[in-house]
């Protein structure tokens, strides 16, 4: 079981801020997870349509989509940041 968390327009398109999911063992990388979750609904499909527009973090550390999920407990998806 991992917690998925979404921010900004990713959260708005999916419709929830966070959810707990059981991941199939076949998912190795964060990109695998994105591909697996996209068919869950139209909001997911839209949010995950272009990974180049997304960033991800494993346990609150930003990583590339090619990173192995490993033992991560929290996986976040969000747009490039715009603070400051």
């Amino acid at each position: 079981m991992v917690r998925l968390v979404y921010f900004a327009w990713v959260r708005e398109q999916i419709g929830v801020a966070e959810e707990d999911v059981d991941l199939p063992a076949s998912l190795i990388t964060v990109a695998d997870l994105a591909q697996w979750i996209a068919p869950r609904g139209s909001g997911y499909a839209t949010a995950f349509a272009d990974l180049a527009k997304l960033r991800c973090a494993l346990d609150q550390v930003v990583v590339p989509f090619s990173t192995a999920i490993g033992e991560a407990k929290e996986i976040a998806f969000f747009p490039p940041v715009t603070g400051g």
Partner: protein
Amino acid sequence: MKRVSVQTEDFDPATAQSALEALHPGAISSFIGLVRNDGGIIAMTLEHYPGMTHAALTALADEASTRWPLQGVVIIHRYGRLVPGDRIVHIATASPHRAAAMDACAFLIDRLKTDAPFWKKEERADGSAAWVQAKGSDDAAAERWQN
């Protein structure tokens, strides 16, 4: 001295300055970011990633302290709904000499804009709202601090 705060309430820049002056540095450099009065924008809502934000800002403060001889670093960033003219972010650095204070301050705001998990949504007078897109110029500004 290292002070990092992620908060909804406004801040008084004089508070951070006084705290840094008490360290008897030779120089204090300070940056304050405000909500711009851009055409038609009536408000801006800042969302952030609780848990990660404070850690990301603290990591930047620590990195600045390893790169420059700093006596003190203050980073304050607000979230929630703000209107034009409101203060968003305050960065202040104290060092024995001006170059270190100014460079560290510029480093912190440049890297904050690409590393800290905040997102801005702008509201316009016509009722529309849109997420601000990240700018390539921000990436370029952050990259100049690599090496």
